[in-house]
Amino acid sequence: MPPTVLVADNGPGTVVRIHGRHVGDRIYRGAITFFAVCVPLLVALVAWEIAVAGWPTFRHFGLSFLTSSDWDLVKERFGAAPAIYGTLVSSAIALVIATPLAVGVSVFLSEFAPRWMRQPVGFLVDLLAAIPSVVYGLWGIFVLLPLLRDPVMPFLRDTLGLGKTPFFTGPAYGSSMLAAGLILAIMVLPYIASVSREVLLAVPRAQREAALALGATRWEAIWGAVLPYARSGIIGGIILGLGRALGETMAVTMLIGNRQEISASLLAPGYTMASLIANEFSEASSDAHLSALMAVGFTLLVITIIVNAIARWLVWRVGGGTASKPL
């Protein structure tokens, strides 16, 4: 999926069009244009192919493909609602947990940390992004799930009394929406942190100094002057993390429990669109099944595009109405 572009040109004055007069320039421009056109064409082609392959399913089931929870291979009935729900909820949990952590890490590194600490800690946070997804999954199975099963889930449900709400009911198996959300949080954290850190470091010194000169405390300066300045960049980082969370497959498949059911309880197992495709594609033999999986893929693509569009709009809004000027 395309990462949201946070950077536009710096206003009309800075764009200089280069008109090639020499043959070499023309060839160069032609080649560059060709490559530039290739990317959107490729995206369109992929979308088209998936849509065509999934079309029989959309035609046969109509809207109920998106709203039905019935995924039955034996009777060849397909409804992707649990997977859509699981994708959105697990990603939401991930962002709710990861965002404060990531922004906290970034603020610490850019505002408080001594110089010698910035590089190594920043490097380690970035390193989280380099760990293969299947390793996260294994860690999840052998460390996270046993911890969740006992003591975390019983603690949340019984000791804290959250079991009285519909969100923390049912037996604590470990494999659950909560486990998937937690692993996703760890996985998207470096994306948000990395972008936020760079954005915060780019905030001009004058911004801080002005706030401090007005008598603001460190906290007030960061909260009132630095963070608002970096807001659109941080949101961009969150969106990047969200894109990653929506499409993450392996680690989620290993931890979410792979159950076709919508449950309000975060302790209950669920499913995501990406893990549904990953689990079933290799052994799908009937045309109807293949088409249904393609339809799930197309739905995932559309949801990703919608989320990205909302995100760009959000960045634009936060940016003060014009994407080209950072505040």
Partner: protein
Amino acid sequence: MTLRTTAPIAFVASALIACGGGGSASHTGSGDSAKTASSAAAVDLTGAGATFPYPIYSKWFADYAKQTSIRINYQSIGSGGGIRQLSEHTVDFGASDAPMSDDELSKAKGAVMHFPTVIGAVAVTYNLPSLQTPIRLTGNVLADLFLGHITKWNDSRIKAENPGVALPATDVLVVHRAEASGTTYIFSDYLSAVSPDWAKAPGKGKELSWPAGIGAKGNEGVAGQVKQTPGAIAYVELAFAKQNNLPTAALKNASGAFVAPSIESATAAAAGIADKLPNNTDYRISIVNAPGAGAYPIASFTWLLVYRNQTDATKAKKLKDFLHWYLHSGEASAASLDYAPLPDAMKTRLDARVDSVTAGDTA
């Protein structure tokens, strides 16, 4: 600030791309293919399909290449893929854990014959640390456990089959395969045979709409879940259960005896059915809940799929030679990799069936 933000985004974007490809491809024996390339000996036959019998097939093909210098390349891409590739005739033979349906047969380019190779059994494994002896279950109790009707291990119906055993009041957690699998097909075929409730819904298939429990990928994933969760119950291939020393339940068979899963009891299940086969059978037969005192009830053949009418006479000869070879030399080594060999009576009948493969009749 605008310019500086591009650097981390480029970094994250490239990391995103690098981490995105989590696809797991099945590989064929890499050592063999390397040898093939270096000695410039072309592959004589290609096949694709089931992953479950892959270990024994790769041993067979390696042994066969040593003895006859005929090379067979097999890709374990899954039963569904094997059937697809055979139907499109991109391979010389297919392999599947479930017999082809009538619908699938009609889509193939010509008549397809099924050759049973080995017998796989599905073991029921569980996590009840307090139990000293294997738990005993009937087909109906097993179905109700997987239907979610029995939710505690000290249920009176489980107690009735296990007199004198102290069963804990633990919650039952059903673990099943998340992906379509031949193992699921065999297991649900059995439950459909013994439980009318199960036959109604979810029925039998490689992947089901499971009424209870959680899904995990592969035998390893399922076994991992069971090992970690007290009260869990699941089904895995016998070979996998044996190699990992998992506890397995003894099941009540059609003759009323409790039988533990083993190579012998799986072969016994095939023998019970083989004796009653009509002469014109196409071998698309289920051997779950088989008669015979020693028969383990959840067993199934796995098949090689071959066109009856071969287009290439040379390949047909090589293929038939191999089919004869596996029936005689191959079966002998099956048990060494925890697969149950075919009963002797079947081998002679299948020999005659191999001879009925013809070649060169069509262009």
